[in-house]
Symmetry: C2
Subunit: 274 residues, 2 copies
């Protein structure tokens, strides 16, 4: 009998350092798991958490990505991928590193992270944002009830628990609210961490589902802010869009932890489904 | 008598290509003008418009930055600066380029832009955001009335016209609203362009002025979205923050053109003034 050491997510975002560090450059290998596929590629949040891990391994004194910006250049596929990192600045309470994720010489994601140590930050919180309101979990709709054809297109739905608030789940029954808003409870097998927050920031379906425009919405660029160490327990995730135009839309995401703190935010620019 | 060819802003963001293109890399020189100083450095929006220009010169088929992410690593100073660009992907309707701005070998800004051609985008606009409400310009407070000591700290105020809405100008009289919101009319000498929108997205004072925390708020990272060619005339700029915590704050900015279109958005993570 083998003991299960890591959670599925930890196991599937594991990176392996290739050889020694050359100057301030490092190289890592990773296996992108098919279970994180959605539509035509691998989920961007999953890739972002792998990128965050490469940043953390490159900057051991600065383990937490405060802000990661990532340009998605081509759709990743299941299988091996390569990571190259380069330290751009270090020495203070924050450091900046560039991370590139490629497959077979084709660049998939070009990212930059500025990182530090969340535990060492000033404890003052003067957030004016209102905590996301979600119905109790037993009144929410689980992705477990998604039709089999959707689960086949988006196997990532089986990687976590996601419970949609009933106020914005009409799209699942062909009655999108038109407001451009999605919100849900979210939980991985393991307790939330700064790196898994990067996943949570791009785990929900595109907010365009709620505008009656279902379909794959490839991310052009996503910038994530991780602002605090998340408390254990369920996360609340909210997404909305306000500027749908020119065949693109912006999507803002916020993640609240079980202690009622706004722990992470993201904004992405994505391609509007046709 | 010499004819004035360029506006001040166009003149002060001019970049000069150094030598030929090496592979897909280009190098440019630029002179950072002291007139764009604010607090301890050169204004980040001014730097971003220079970075946008380097992206445009590197990608002539993709002149408009749809999204630029920029990590600010150290404070820029007036004087010469060097730009290096590297094309990361090209060939489709968008292309991605990395841009680094340095001074004397010290990296100031590490940016990445994904660009295309705004004029060629789908004409559909389904924006749900409400247009920023501003008082008529003759009821707003011009930066021309700022006290001389502030103008000395922030000479960039003389580079453009900025008229603050009376609802959020209390900070100038020591009575900040506490809402964390600033909004103003904005105009450069020349008509707005995609590259000058990059300036507009970081031209207002830090939104923390309206929280009773005046002072310099260095940007850690800023991501800008340029979504449409701006119409001629005055721009409306609004900024707000919702998450002040851990010695940092996020600042969201939106820019509306004279035709009532949301033409640009930005979010930045910045250091909270002490």
């Amino acid at each position: 009998m083998t003991e299960r050491v890591d959670s599925e997510w930890a196991d599937q975002t594991r990176i392996v350092r290739d050889g020694g560090t050359v100057g301030q450059d490092s190289r890592f290998s990773v296996e992108l798991f098919a279970g994180w596929s959605v539509g035509g590629g691998i989920n961007g949040g999953y890739l972002l958490s792998i990128i965050g891990r490469a940043a953390a391994e490159t900057l051991p004194e600065h383990p937490d990505p405060f802000v990661v910006s990532a340009h998605y250049l081509s759709a990743s596929t299941a299988g091996p991928a390569q990571l190259r990192t380069r330290v751009l600045r270090t020495g203070g309470s924050t450091a900046t590193v560039r991370i590139e994720l490629s497959q077979g010489g084709i660049l998939r994601v070009a990212a930059t992270a500025t990182s530090g140590r969340l535990a060492g930050l000033d404890r003052e919180v003067a957030t004016t944002a209102q905590e996301l309101e979600l119905a109790p979990r037993d009144q929410c709709l689980s992705t477990d009830f998604a039709p089999p054809e959707l689960q086949e297109i988006a196997p990532l739905m089986s990687r976590f628990e996601m419970l949609f608030d009933p106020s914005c789940v009409g799209w699942a029954m062909g009655r999108p609210s038109g407001r451009g808003e999605l919100k849900a409870w979210f939980r991985l097998e393991e307790q939330p961490s700064p790196l898994s927050l990067l996943l949570a920031l791009d785990a929900l379906p595109p907010v365009t589902f709620d505008l009656g425009r279902p379909g794959w919405a490839p991310t052009i660029e996503l910038t994530a802010h991780v602002r605090a160490l998340p408390a254990p327990g369920w996360l609340k995730i909210g997404q909305r869009t306000r500027n749908v135009a020119g065949g693109m839309f912006e999507e803002d995401c916020e993640v609240w932890d079980s202690a009622g703190r706004l722990v992470a935010q993201a904004r992405q620019l994505a391609v509007l489904p046709r």
